[in-house]
């Protein structure tokens, strides 16, 4: 039996591949997605991948232990470059997280149904990326065991946080973001956890999924409130996600350092975050759909749409680079113009031109639909963009700081092995969490996929 390929509430667009390949039923969608979790044996590929990620995670553990024992002096930071890898990686990770919220919240409000098959793992990606991001400012503090001083609580010192500081705003923005993302993700999981509870054959699985599902039984009265809550959370997450990277950009923009003090920073940072995030979603989606055979659900159309978002936000970012240069020239300030000159021709200029190549030149290939539909090309472009976005933060943090107002305070920065250990280790943490996620939780929202099937449509004249 062949079902019509268009999704629910979807206008017919014949030139695009479908959102769900034809022939699927409620049962087949459920079986296909939950099989990655409920199958007995663990696939060899998963074990190898997890082992590799876990090895990198151990690199993080060693780096953090060494840092805690000897202090932040083990990193390459010093005056004037007191912010380096820790802040670069913080901004890089938190930016990556933004695509998950964009997909789950903004695209939901815009009724973009193609988000359905990618929102779950994009949200998981957000959560894990924010966890990685959160590590850095904590460890950069030098005495992370006093991190709770950042929160306003009555204490015997009689002191309160300085609420006029963007760094305190950051604490509130990032912790709110983490909590809201966690709740959004968990709420989205509840009906699928109930599915796993009902399908799980082992006692342990039944118990754990049963506890997590909290007794969800799919009652219409529950669904009614559930959908309201989900929509409200989406509406709340939308301004939140914009505010988070805006506040991150304030960490820089509120300071006077040439290269930081720019009004273009908030929109430019938000666009950069979405850009980097979509690159990461593509990097994850392409291997996941191949290894778990999910081509029916994450179709070429999804990849095409994500590539378009990446291209659009890439152009915003390119505009940001142009405006930074223009503003520096137009300001006629010696320090601002020197900042650009130093970026273009200074000691770190190869990194700047590499950034332009990665973030501005390479994504232009995405104008061609043949490249957007080619998974290998798309994967490579997304990889290049991820590197480019890391370089962007390197340029903003290090190149701005290393030559500020007084030439007598200028200095060069180079990372140590412990900087690299922390960075590579955080990738290990991210990948380990991701591997555990795809093994123990459904990586695609099962109940939302059901709503895309033709059988979910209730015609009023039939009823």
């Amino acid at each position: 039996m062949v079902f019509p390929t268009k999704g629910r509430r979807e206008t017919v667009s014949s030139h695009l591949p479908p959102l769900v390949e034809p022939g699927h039923t409620f049962g087949s969608v459920t079986d296909k997605i939950s099989s990655a979790v409920t199958e007995r044996g663990t696939p060899r590929g998963w074990i190898v991948g997890f082992a590799f990620s876990f090895l990198l995670l151990m690199v993080l553990l060693v780096s953090v232990t060494y840092l805690l024992v000897y202090g932040v002096g083990v990193w390459g930071i010093n005056i004037p470059v007191a912010w380096a890898f820790a802040i670069i990686n913080f901004v890089w990770w938190i930016g990556i997280g933004h695509a998950g919220t964009l997909i789950s919240a903004i695209l939901l409000l815009l009724r973009q149904e193609w988000r359905t098959s990618i929102n779950r793992f994009a949200e998981a990606m957000t959560l894990f990326a924010v966890a990685c991001a959160g590590l850095y400012p904590l460890l950069h503090m030098g005495r992370p065991w006093l991190a709770y001083w950042l929160f306003p609580y009555p204490n015997t010192m009689g002191m309160w946080p300085q609420f006029r500081s963007p760094l305190v705003w950051d604490v509130f923005a990032v912790s709110t973001y983490l909590l809201i993302s966690l709740m959004f993700w968990y709420i989205g999981l509840i009906p699928d956890l109930a599915t796993l509870r009902d399908r799980s054959e082992s006692r342990v699985g039944k118990t754990i999924y049963g506890l997590l599902a909290m007794g969800w039984r799919g009652s219409a009265r529950h669904w009614h409130r559930y959908e309201t809550a989900y929509l409200l959370l989406a509406g709340l997450s939308t301004p939140l996600v914009v505010s988070v990277h805006t506040i991150v950009s304030f960490d820089f923009a509120v300071a006077q350092v040439p290269g930081w003090h720019a009004t273009v920073f908030p929109p430019y940072f938000v666009a950069g975050a979405v850009y980097a995030g979509f690159a990461m979603v593509i990097l994850l989606a392409i291997p996941l759909r191949r290894f778990y055979g999910l081509q029916d659900f994450v179709t070429l159309r999804h990849l095409d749409h994500m590539a378009r978002v990446m291209l659009a936000t890439g152009l915003f970012v390119a505009y940001g680079y142009m405006m930074e240069t223009f503003t520096a020239w137009y300001s006629a300030s010696t320090f601002e113009t020197y900042m650009i000159e130093n970026r273009f021709f200074g000691p770190y200029s190869p990194y700047y031109w590499a950034l332009i190549f990665c973030n501005v030149v390479v994504p232009q290939f995405l104008w061609f639909s043949r490249i957007r539909m080619n998974t290998t090309a798309l994967f490579l472009i997304a990889l290049v963009v991820s590197v480019g976005m890391w370089l962007e933060r390197f340029i903003i943090v290090v190149v701005s700081l290393h030559r500020d107002f007084l030439p007598s305070s200028w200095d060069m920065y180079s990372p140590t092995i412990w900087d690299w250990g922390m960075y590579i280790g955080s990738i290990g943490l991210f990948l380990s969490l991701l591997f555990l996620f795809v093994r123990f939780l459904p990586m695609i929202s099962i109940f939302e996929m059901r709503t895309l099937l033709p059988g979910a449509e209730v015609k009023e004249d039939e009823a």
Partner: protein
Amino acid sequence: MRNLAAHGLMAEFASAADLVAAAREVREAGYRHFDAYTPFPIEELDEAMGLHHTRLPFLVLIGGILGGLGGFALQYWTSVVNYPINVGGRPLFSWPAFIPVTFECTILAAGLTAVLGMLALNGLPQPYHPVFNISRFALASRDRFFLCVEARDPRYDPVETRHFLEGLDARRVSDVES
């Protein structure tokens, strides 16, 4: 041993359309204490069952307002009253600098209200519910659609109601023990 205090009668349907039609009939027949169980949310079902109002958006609004006011008050009190610091003669009540944290507190409180409010109004977590006594009910989280008329409904009658449900294209009708 059979539990005499039955929870109600459960009818099983093969499609969403059948369930929505049945829910409408049940409601029109005057039943009020009944519930439908589906593997995904069905908009048309809310209307068929007469579900229109939920207090949740109102609660979220209140939560957001309290969160915003609370966040702003915290910053005002700590920065102006309890721990004033003179930074270059700038005003202590520098309210524009308090906006980001106020905003984040608003979102956090509203989000927490949305999630906890939804769970509380739905009565979750709930470790036990009679509907799970039916073994086929496991399919409610897969591809089947159920409708349960509860025994506490004044119009409920074990025989009459069963006949009525059987006449609604139900695949099967079974007793739910409480």
